[in-house]
Amino acid sequence: MQLVLTEEQELIAATARDFVAASSPVSRFRALRDAGDPLGYSPALLREMGELGWLGIAFDEKQGGAGLGLAELVLVVEALGRSLAPEPFVGGLALGGFALALGASPALQSAWLPGVLEGRKVVALAHQEPGSRHALTRIGTRAVASGSGFRLTGAKSQVLDGFGAEAVIVPARTAGGGDDRSGITLFLVGKDAPGLASERAIRVDSRNAAQLHLDGVVCGPESIVGKLGEGASLLEAVVDRATVVLSAEMLGGMAAVFEQTLSYLKTREQFGVPIGSFQALQHRAAQVYMEIELARSSVMAAARSVDAGETDAAKLVSLAKARCSGAYLLAANEAVQMFGGVGMTDEYDVGFYLKRARAAELTFGDAAYHRQRWARLGGY
């Protein structure tokens, strides 16, 4: 594994960064929040990103993608994370898209993937339920056999990018209970399916999320993504990829908020000198710098490891998420503290990063969760 960008990757990173700087400053996110926009993102900009080929980067060419990998996708997502661009890359592209690519039948793929990769459709995946915390297999939603298909009943919480999505992939129990790994099946449910109710969840980070209620939603066998009763490993593989994508977004966010903090330290004067000349702040800034560097190495390694299908890829995914969770919160907390009073105001952007850092930390498992997972994967 080489932890250095190739020329092609440098080009992707630079293009994404330029595009985001020109088309998606933080003020765009702020305007969406202020307007209470129901989607919370711009469908037009999403289509533009599809035309640029960003959504298809990590998908096979025969599926309509560019045939590259997570190592390239994370560069685009990092750029988006820098300016808190709210387009549905984590819930829509990474969860929904990878679930389709890894598990769906050719018929489902051809019906849905082109739209997802062109940015015309969003397919979400409901990985969380009320009370499930970070346990992916703690699923109470039941799929009861009915005729040739199933009837789904249950509730899903904070379905990322799920409000207004064309379809949602819903993990449900066809057998078993509790945290059982077996008996889980993934179903693709169209937004207009009778018995499905979707409500926008208003979150601290203002990002799109939906609360879903399923009341006897009918799903035919053709809507199963993956294999009947064996959805746990598909779900974990998909969430691992989405975790790398989210980690990359976090990396962009922490880098940006830290740059803004450094710039403030160099210009804000108190006692007649720039506050960045104080050693107490210099050493704390240097600590943040180091944590970001370690987070970056972890994200690069995780992306390459998943791309290569290495045996310890899952450990590196946990490493990336744990490091990014700690580093993003540190960078954001320190930003608020070093900006001082204005850092607490809604007018300044640093609060947006703090909110997103917390939301991202508590998505797909926090650092403590991933330490437990690392220990389990390490055989202890």
Binding site: Q2, L3, V4, A285, Y289, A295, S297, R323, A375
Partner: protein
């Protein structure tokens, strides 16, 4: 790439043919590695044979030019060689400050005569070097050093004391910072000088540390005459050389403390730390029975891995032609703090078994951990304190104002 594969194949079979079997599985760390030098002893004669055969091929200093005794390898080839040594579980044939500190410094700043004289002797393990930087009155404020060097014809006459000169009692030569101009601004009156420890007037006394043992010494200079030809770079320009060498030192320290990556675990098996924790605390359903220690072991392993990946990233970037920055300061801070955390965790895992000072009644390995825990407290002081490194990061990497 094909060339690299050929290199890998040929080197592997050469190593398999030439490495003494008794060295497989040996660790080449500070305590057990081969340092060489005139005073070297060879409890295992195979270690000497291993040094000689590797030195003859230029593999003690793989990337140095062949003309000076090195291997003339490209960085990518040197990485392959290092990987092969790990794979075959072979210790490095030679370690020491000649290879890691003064060698790279001479390659950059030394005169042709200095390179021709000193580098081959380093490569062959004939001369062991030590470092004369700190003084009783010059620690973090290194540039305030006072060891006097007065010009007398084509010699300098040295008077003063250097402190924390690691392994000075076993070294043959010392590279020292001395004051040649007492009136100039403090950084501008310093000269970088090479001194043969056999010169009359050089004496060494050991320093005992809280760990009960120590590689450290005080080195005294009393009217020591050193040829002006032993000045590296220029007179009064030693600070430039000193800073460059400190970068090498920080990288060396970082590598020693895990930057080179975790020791390869048994395939699919537990790490050393996890195994120790399981044996001391017991297991429940395949897990370390104490959930808090289990969490701490995982936290430490993850931090180590992230650090090793960051060191690797910097090396990969350097190989790809990117200019290295001041990252060595980050590695110095992080590597040493990790080593401290490692020993903090180890002694707490041992519990009361960690309280031995010497036998009987205590396990040899546990005693070693206790001594190393105490020794590790010095890691964030030696080679530039963590606080000095944070200053360097803040000013030179982050651009924060003075």
């Amino acid at each position: 790439m094909a060339d690299l594969e050929t290199f890998r194949r040929e080197t592997k079979s050469w190593l398999e043919a030439n490495a003494p079997a008794s060295l497989v599985g040996q660790i080449g760390n500070e305590l057990e590695g081969t340092w060489g030098g005139r005073k070297a002893t060879w409890p295992n004669p195979d270690a000497k044979r291993w040094l000689d055969v590797m030195a003859a091929r230029g593999f003690t200093a793989p990337t140095w030019p062949k003309a000076y005794g090195g291997g003339g390898l490209e960085p990518a080839e040197a990485k392959v060689l290092a990987q092969l040594l790990r794979e075959l579980r072979l210790p490095p044939p030679l370690i020491g400050f000649g290879l890691t500190m003064i060698g790279p410094t001479l390659l950059r700043f030394g005169s042709e005569e200095q390179k021709t004289l000193h580098l081959p002797r380093i490569c062959r393990g004939e001369i062991r070097w030590c470092q004369g930087y700190s003084e009783p009155g010059a620690g973090s404020d290194l540039a305030s050093l006072q060891t006097k060097a007065l010009r007398d014809g084509d010699h300098f006459v040295l008077n003063g004391t250097k402190v924390w000169t690691s392994y000075a009692d076993q070294a043959d030569w010392i590279f020292a910072l001395v004051r040649t101009n007492p009136t100039a601004k403090k950084q501008e009156g310093i000269t970088f000088l090479l001194v043969d420890m056999d010169t009359p007037g050089v004496s060494v006394s050991p320093i005992l540390l809280i760990s009960g043992k120590s590689p450290f010494c005080e080195t005294h200079f009393q009217d020591v005459r050193v040829p002006v030809a032993n000045v590296v770079h220029q007179i009064d320009a030693g600070w430039t050389v000193a800073k460059a060498l400190l970068g090498h030192e920080r990288t060396m320290i970082a590598d020693a403390f895990g930057g080179a990556g975790p020791r390869p675990d048994k395939k699919g098996g537990r790490s050393y730390l996890a195994e120790l924790a399981a044996s001391k605390l017991g297991e429940e359903q395949g897990r370390i029975a104490d959930p808090i220690f289990r969490d701490e072991v995982a936290a430490f392993e993850m931090e180590s891995r992230a650090f090793a990946l960051t060191v690797q990233r910097t090396k990969d970037a350097a190989r790809a032609g990117h200019q290295p920055g001041s990252e060595s300061s980050m590695f110095k801070i992080y590597g040493t703090e990790l080593n401290q955390r490692r020993y903090e965790l180890l002694v707490r895992l041992l519990g009361p078994d960690a309280l031995g000072w010497e036998g009987p009644g205590f396990d040899e390995a546990d005693l070693e951990i206790t001594r190393e825990w105490l020794r590790s407290r010095g890691n964030t002081i030696e080679g530039g304190t963590s606080e000095v490194q944070l200053n360097i990061l803040a000013k030179h990497v982050l651009g924060l104002p003075s």
